[in-house]
């Protein structure tokens, strides 16, 4: 059973496992149906060992997915541990009983059997454009319990020994608004699972099962040691920080996230005690989502090349009291956890800014500003759902300005081309550009937010928008100024413009326009220290107005 493995063979086996996850990632991306996966790459692949430890995750994976997949595998083993057969395929999405982080992320897992026993589990996750619930897109704000957010799926077998449970599939598809698209995406996820199983088996055939299992242990142990070595580089101390979400989409305002980081030697504890009790609105984080925030912040400041696996996760202690926004319990609603994760990351980076000032960045746009347009296409008569999440400013950095108009933190999804939107949906995009003056001033400045203007064509539709940092500005660091907040605006047919609520769901009539303006980002260091050629460029590019520059930097020209 046990074998030893040298540092050369382990490197080769480890790379082999990573290349399996990357191959599955590409397969899922290419063969999926929905734009969310194909164009926006809102999916991930993982390999875990038979004990449920995460061994490898695909390179392109989104940070939020790392914990969702480990969560699923943990619950899968807890529930079905001794009753898993070759060819079984498991499906789950529920945050409270199946380790997920929100319902639109459908998780799939398939065991790898070698020599008659389970040796690994291949999993993948993809964000589906709709999983039912009270609003199209399953991502609407203002919902106060998990049942309203979509179909809840505990860990269930969608395939028994290679045979699809068509009854179960029918139930699932009936509960979703675009069943054909869901079927296509689910098939792509199943295909990616099967491919992964085949490839892991081939690796085991090639290198021998004993060696593969030893490699799993070594990968976890070495990654943990590497992470511990990185943690040692953080100065010992106690670093506290707190920040708030604007609201929960219902009545709660200024939802607080409080964090104390205790660092001593190679031990680091992230303690979220003192964060608010979970709120009715769907902005709560499950423990797994909170873990993703911590993990992202640490990787970003320590070493972006740290592997994504159990060893790295195990090197960090997290305390998050049950029933708080950082570790919610059923029936808390969670759909908009991506916005909350952004705040979680802000808080992690804010705390670490005291320890590693040159590695952190000022607050980025801190949101996952989403806009969903849904209705019936007046030409085809068919229903459509167009979901987009927009980037904004990137926080200013120690050595350079924050990038303008980019995804930050927990998410890195692409935009959808305007030409794809207009060919696919009865919508028109009237403008897509930067929000001038939205980057906070500083020695290095914060990035600009994005403005997008959309109008329905030939029909009335529904608009759902979820904004964050629409009230509280993204903060600056070490004297840098905060960036601008974002907003949703409605322009009537007669040209009158008014601001919409920050979490909104409303009918949108022909002739009306929605303007989405995402938040900018905070600046770094005192504005007075900004180089003259940098402010000249701010003026020349028109990214900042003369008034802004005069106020922030005392520039008169």
């Amino acid at each position: 059973m046990t074998s030893t493995i040298d540092a050369i063979t382990l490197e080769i086996v480890w790379n082999g496992l990573l290349s399996v996850t990357d191959e599955c990632f590409i397969t899922l991306m290419r063969s999926a149906y929905s734009t969310n996966i194909k164009e926006r790459h809102d999916h991930s692949i993982a390999i875990a060992d038979a004990k449920g430890r995460l061994i490898a995750q695909s390179q392109g994976s989104l940070p939020i997915h790392i914990s969702s997949m480990t969560g699923l595998i943990e619950m899968l083993l807890k529930k079905h541990g001794n009753d898993i057969a070759e060819g079984d395929l498991f499906l789950a999405n529920d945050p409270h009983v199946a380790g997920g982080t929100h319902l639109p992320d459908l998780n799939f897992a398939m065991p790898v059997f070698v020599e008659g026993r389970m040796v690994a589990i291949v999993a993948n996750i993809a964000h589906h454009a709709d999983v039912g619930g009270s609003a199209a897109g399953s991502m609407s704000g203002g919902l106060n319990e998990i049942w309203k957010e979509g179909l809840r799926i505990p860990v269930v077998r969608l395939m028994h020994r290679g045979v699809l449970d068509q009854d179960l599939m029918d139930i699932i598809l009936l509960n979703m608004r675009l069943p054909d698209e869901r079927r296509g995406d689910i098939n792509a996820q199943i295909a990616a699972c099967r491919l992964g199983v085949e490839r892991v088996k081939a690796l085991s055939d090639r290198h021998g099962l004993g060696l593969i299992e030893t490699a799993f242990d070594e990968i976890v142990a070495r990654s943990k040691a590497r992470m511990k070595a990185e943690i040692r580089k953080i100065p010992d101390g106690r670093y506290a920080f707190e920040d708030v979400l604007d609201d929960d989409g219902l009545d709660a305002r200024d939802v607080r996230f409080k964090l104390v980081v205790e660092k001593s030697g190679d031990r680091i504890v992230f303690d979220w005690t003192g964060s608010d009790a979970q709120v009715p609105g769907n902005v709560n984080l499950t423990f797994n989502a909170t873990q993703s925030c911590v993990f992202f912040g640490l990787k970003a400041v320590l070493d972006p090349d740290l592997p994504n696996n159990q060893g790295v996760l195990d090197a960090v202690e997290i305390i998050a009291p049950l029933g708080t926004v950082a570790n919610c319990v059923s029936p808390a609603a969670v759909a908009l956890r991506a916005n909350t994760c952004q705040r979680g990351i802000d808080v992690v980076l804010g705390a670490l800014s005291q320890a590693l000032p040159e590695k952190v960045i000022a607050a980025a746009n801190g949101a996952n500003t989403s806009a969903v347009f849904a209705g019936n296409d007046p030409v085809t008569g068919k229903p459509y759902v167009y979901l987009e999440t927009l980037g904004g400013g990137m926080g200013a950095r120690f050595t350079k300005d924050g990038k303008d108009g980019v995804q930050a933190g927990i998410t890195n999804t692409s935009n959808l081309p305007v030409e794809a939107i207009e060919m696919e949906y009865p919508l028109r995009v009237l403008a897509y550009g930067f929000v001038e003056d939205s980057g906070g001033a500083g020695r290095t400045r914060g990035g600009l937010g994005i403005r997008r203007v959309v109008t329905p064509v030939g029909h009335d539709c529904e608009f759902s928008g979820v904004g964050e940092r629409f009230v509280h500005q993204p903060w600056g660091l070490f004297g840098g100024e905060p960036g601008a907040t974002g907003q949703f605006l409605l322009t009537n047919a007669d040209g009158a413009m008014r601001r919409l609520p920050n979490k909104v769901r409303m009918p949108l009539r022909q002739g009306e326009q929605v303007t989405v303006e995402t938040p900018g980002a905070g600046g770094y260091g005192p504005p007075a220290e900004r180089a003259a050629d940098a402010t000249t460029e701010d003026a020349r590019t028109g990214k900042f107005s003369a008034e802004f520059l005069a106020r922030a930097y005392g520039k008169s020209d």
Binding site: G184, S223, T541
Partner: protein, 679 residues
Amino acid sequence: MGWLIGVDVGGTFTDLFAFEPGTQRIVVHKVPSTPADPSEAIVAGLEQLASRHGVDLGGMARFAHGTTVATNALIQRRGGRLALVTTKGFRDLLEIGRQIRPRVYDIQTDYPPALIPREHRLEVDERIGSRGQVLGELLDAEAERVAFEVARLDVDGVAICMLFSFLNPEHERRVAEAIRRVKPELHLSVSSEVQPEFREYERLSTTVLNAYLQPQVTRYMERLGSAVGKLTPGAAIGINQSSGGLMSIDRASRFPVRTALSGPAAGVIGAAHVARLSGHPDIITFDMGGTSTDVCLVRGGKAEMSFGREVAGFPVRMPAIDIHTIGAGGGSIAHFGPDGLLKVGPESAGAVPGPACYGRGGTAPTVSDANVVLGRLPTELLGGDMRLDRNASVRAVQPIADKLAISLEAAALGIVRIVNANMMRAIRAVSIERGHDPRPFVLMPFGGAGALHAVELAEELGMRAVLVPPSPGILCAQGLVVADLKESFVATCRTPLAGDLAHVESELARLEARVRDWWQTEQIRPQEARRELVVDMRYIGQNYELGVAVPDSHGDGLPPAAELARLFHATHERNYGHHNAEAPIEIVNLRVTGIGRLPDIGAPKFDRGPARQEVRTRAVWFSGDGPVDARVHWRADLAPGTELDGPAIVEQLDATTTIPPGYRATVDAGLNLVIGAAS
């Protein structure tokens, strides 16, 4: 037919490959490159071909050229100063791109900054809709206004890209005309001419890159055209495109972005040609150099194509030979990662200081040093012009062995195993990940280091054989000699396959008419004229289309819908392992390529070069079990029909081939070394 000449410009040498059809005579010549003006080396090379080798330049039929001018201008950011004209409301798109950062967890690294500053990005009041209809009329006064505004800027060129111009290019054209009237000397790059296909950011990025390269490439093409024209008045001049076909100097000046992969594409064409002549239509090319390695899959003698890739950090849409590049080569450095494991690359010792064995001051252990330690690389290269310092290699690799507490040779074998694993990943990416089983393919190594590693790679992948061409260092120049003329046309016409295809048919007829016009302009004779059709299709609702090649047997026009559906399902099945026969399909793009084939020129007669008639023996490590005595042959000594059993090493000026125990190499009629399992 007169001499055909291929000229490939590399960083160090400019290679010339001259071929005289009829006599089948070949002349190969190398001159040092002249990076400041590459045409100087070309002129020198041509003159030497005439003076030293008696090549009749006056009777030259064709001069084909692979250029790196565009690539270098991009890498060094020495392109033109530009303005952009785009649809009102969208000038920031160039900077937003797809709104992503290059590495998810890296908060410090951005994509490269936009090539056109914001204050030079001008908007015009106009709008085309998603069916090509005009939603907002472009007024003449508006076109003129923007033309005058452009004229006031201090720029060399203008990129013009508007929404939905791939469906209706009228507004782009009118703005271009207005600018031409006001300031005719400006270079113009118009998206509907550069690459008229959908997805505005990729089209914009391609158009801007094209504009960026225009000033420099145009100047170069003018110099080259007049210099070469003087020496070889009768020769048609062709510039190699990334798609592996030649275009005229005039088109290269207009569409320089198409030359971004000019050189590597020529190498694949050369490899495919050599392989076809030796009866191996299915190969995977493996061009391993000092810092990087290119691999490409060739099926039925044709290289796989792709239509989108990244060039210097920018997305580009253009037909290109689907070359997969990884940052590992002979100069890649072995080191320990933070997890304590041995890694190879991506850091490279480059040419300077180079591997430790070069004796130019390098001390880091590289792949080449490992090969020297193992006895696989000889201690002299280039026929004795360059000595390799084995002691330096030993000094470089020894610390790795010490740290792992293994022997020197075990450490060197480890370095080779790891770099081979990286190479395998690249070969898997072009084969298995795209639905091709690599096993029936032949691996063709070229570049300086390819043949050292090829047999072990082929073994690991279960590939049929390895084929080492007679002169692996000049395949690019050779490829240029045999390259076809090519011109690609694309039209986006999104239509359900089950619906009325009249519009698609008329679009195809329009593209085919353009191909015929092009044949006429290029004076391509009917027997050499061909056209290829690729239909991009997808399941309705998908947003990622698949290029489906329509077999030539269908002739002109669109095949019936049922046949297109069958081809699409088969392609989907091959690429992704599944298809859905019931799901409705739609057509997205039509891609028609006009081809002017070179008449069949037969096989070149390679001169083996000066023989040495000597066989030596050297201790070589092929496995951890210990060294074996390998016979070392000089390539020029090997006549067709020669069989060599491993363990053996074959050395030549520009490459070294290893033949491990259990393998046999045969020299075929074309002087290729064909290596397979001996049994």
